[in-house]
Symmetry: C2
Subunit: 401 residues, 2 copies
Amino acid sequence: MRPFKSLISFEEAQKIALDAINPISRTEKVKVQDSINRVLATGIQAQMAVPPFDRAAMDGYAVLASDTFGSGRFDPKVLKLVGSVHAGEVLNVEVNQGQCVEIATGAKIPKGADSVVMIEDTERENHEVKVFKPVYPQANMSLSGSDISEGEMVLNENEVLGPGKIGVLTSLGLEYVKVYEKPKVAIIPTGNEVAEVGDDLKDGQVFNSNSYALSAIAKENGAIPMRMGIVEDTQDSLKSAIKKALSNDFVVLSGGSSVGERDVLVDVVEELGEILFHGVQVKPGKPLLLGQVEKKLVLGTPGYPTACLIDGYVFMAPMIRKLAHLPAIQRQKVKAKISRRVVSTLGRQQFLTVRLENGEAIPVFKESGAITSMAEAVGFVEIPANVDLVEKGDSVEVVLF
Amino acid sequence: MRPFKSLISFEEAQKIALDAINPISRTEKVKVQDSINRVLATGIQAQMAVPPFDRAAMDGYAVLASDTFGSGRFDPKVLKLVGSVHAGEVLNVEVNQGQCVEIATGAKIPKGADSVVMIEDTERENHEVKVFKPVYPQANMSLSGSDISEGEMVLNENEVLGPGKIGVLTSLGLEYVKVYEKPKVAIIPTGNEVAEVGDDLKDGQVFNSNSYALSAIAKENGAIPMRMGIVEDTQDSLKSAIKKALSNDFVVLSGGSSVGERDVLVDVVEELGEILFHGVQVKPGKPLLLGQVEKKLVLGTPGYPTACLIDGYVFMAPMIRKLAHLPAIQRQKVKAKISRRVVSTLGRQQFLTVRLENGEAIPVFKESGAITSMAEAVGFVEIPANVDLVEKGDSVEVVLF
C-alpha cells in the first residue's frame, strides 16, 4: 500500500485544476428558442434597428409639436383629425400643420408628425381634437433604433443566454444562434463491489450511486454527462476504459483513488500520461487525483459518496464550467449559528455538510461513506485548514449547493 | 378607451395570483438519471439497508476487538492471518479468537470479526500480524443500515431531486421514480404588429420576442412552455386562441392587456370566465391582467418587453413554481451603491433593472419598450411604492435574476 506523498492545499489544487482546463472551441448552431443557458460563441451585431421605425409610446394623437405650443387646460388648441393608425398598420397620410392622427401604442408615426399627445390630455368631438397640454418634439415616441441601433454589438461572445438576451436575439428576427458545444464528460464508476442499478445486488456489493450523482452535478453545470459501464479495479480494465473515454472532453472516475491495495488508478494514469496532483488537504474528499492523458484531464474521485460528491461540487463543477465557458459559480451564502461543537482536523479544509432549521446550521455529516449526508444537506460550512474547533452557537457561513 | 378602475398593490396581486394556483396532480415515472430538478410525487421508503452489510471503513485487518485489548507500541498482540477479502468479495472464513483477515475498505466483514484494525497500526510478517493498538468493538466499520435503515423514509413528497438525492435513490437500486409532471404553460403572443421570427418584417411590424423570453422564464422555472402562433387583437381570434390553450395548465398572453382601443383581452376574459385583477401598482408592468377561465388561470402581460419580462419574473415565475410543486425562488441579493439619482413614482413599486460594476448598481432601464433594458440587466432594485427618490450613492439591494 502506498501512502500519499504530500498533500497539497485546497487552493493550490483548485488552481492547478482550473489552470489545466482549456475551454472547448467546438461550436454549434442551435435554435434561439432552445438556447437558454447556452454560451454565445460569437458576438451578435444588430442587422437592423429596434424598433425598426419611429413609433408611438402611448395611445393618443400624432401631431406636430409646434401645433400644441401655448395650449392649456382652459385654452386648448384644436386640431383636425385626418386618420387613425393601429399597431401593425401603416397609414399613408401625411400630418400637416393643424392636423392630427389618432394613434395606438406601438403604431408607426405617420409622416409629418413629430410627437404624440397622450389621450388623457385631449378631448375629441367628431373630427376635431382639443389638445390641453403642449408637447415637445419626440414626446411620447420611441425613435427608430432607440432600443438597438443598426450595427450595434448587442451581445458579446461568452455571454450566457438568459430570458432577456433571448428576447434581444428574437427582437432582431434571429432564429438560430452560434453557441459553444456542451462539454462531454465521461463518468466512469469503478470498483469490484459496485453493481449496476437495475441489476440484482450480490452479497458484498453496493449499488452504483456516485456516477449518477456526479452526472447530475455535471448536467447542472452545463455538461453532457456520458455515464459509462462499471469498471473493475484492474490495470487493464481501467486502462482500456480511460482510453475509450478520451474521446470525451473530460474524464471523471468515481472510486479507485484512495490509498488501498487495489488502488491502481494512480499507476494507470502515470503510465498513460502524467499526474498533476494526488491527495488534497480537504475533508472529506482527500484522495483526489488529477492527471492528464493525451491533453485530456482525468479526475479520480474517492468512492465514498460524501467524499465523491464534495469533490464533485468543489473540483469537478468549476472545471466543467470553465470547459463550457460558463462563469464561476456564485454560490449563495447564508449566515447561521452552528447547532453543536464541531471538531475539525488541523491541516485539512473541512466541508461540513449541514441542513438549516430556524437559522441554525445542523451538521448532517455521518461519515464519508454515507450518501444521506449529502441528500439531507442544503449546503456546507467551510472550516479552514487552520481551525480545529467550532463552538456550539458560533456564527458560520453556509454555502448553499 | 377604458381606464384601469383601481390598481391593486404588488403584494395583493401576488397573493391573489398564488392563492389561485392549484399545484398539478398529474404524475409520471421517469428514469432516476433524468430526474434532476424534478419534484417527488411520493415519499421514498427504503426497501433495503445501506450499506446492505457490515463493511470495513478502512484498509486493515478484521479482528475480534477483545484480541487487541492491552496491545501497545512495545507490546503488540500477534494474530494469525487466515484470509484476505477485497471489496465486492465474500470470504467464507470465520475469524476466531487469535485470528485476523486482511480487509480492504468497503469489503464485507467476515463472520466472527467485530472490528477493523487500521493498516497503520499493524505490521505483517508472513502469516503473522502484529497489532500495536487496541480497538473497541465496531471500530473502523460501517454497520449495515448505518446510512439508510430498511423501511426508513429517506425522501419526502415534494422534495426537489438534486445530485445528493439522486445518489440516495440509486444507492437503493431504484431505476425509476414517480415525479409530478411539468406544468404545460401556453404562451400566446398577441398583436397585429407582431411578426414571427423567421418571417419577413413588414413596415410597421416588430418581431415576436416576448413569447420567446417568457418561454425561457417558464422553462427555467420547471414548466414546459407551449409557444403558440401569433394572435390578432380581435375578440374572435383571442377567444378561440384562449379556448384552444385551455388544454394546458396555465395560459399566458403577451401584449393586449394595456388600456388601448384594441385592448380586447379584458372583454374576452370577462366573457369566458372572470377577472381576478387588472392593473397592478408596479413599474414597469402595470397593465397586468389575471383571469380564470374554466378553472385555468389566464395571465395577460403587457406587450412592452421590459414590462412583460418583469411581470414574467415577479408574477408568472412564482405561479409556475407553485404549479410545479417547486419551492419559491430564493433570489440571491447583493448590496451596491446606486450610480445615479433615481426618481420613482409614488404609489407604484418600481423594479429598476440594473447592471453591476465595481460594487455600483447602474440603472439600465431605458423605457418599458426596450428589450435591451432586460438583456443588460443582471437584476433589479426594488423601490417600494412609498419611496419617490433614491439619491446617488444610496445603498440598495440588487435582486439577481
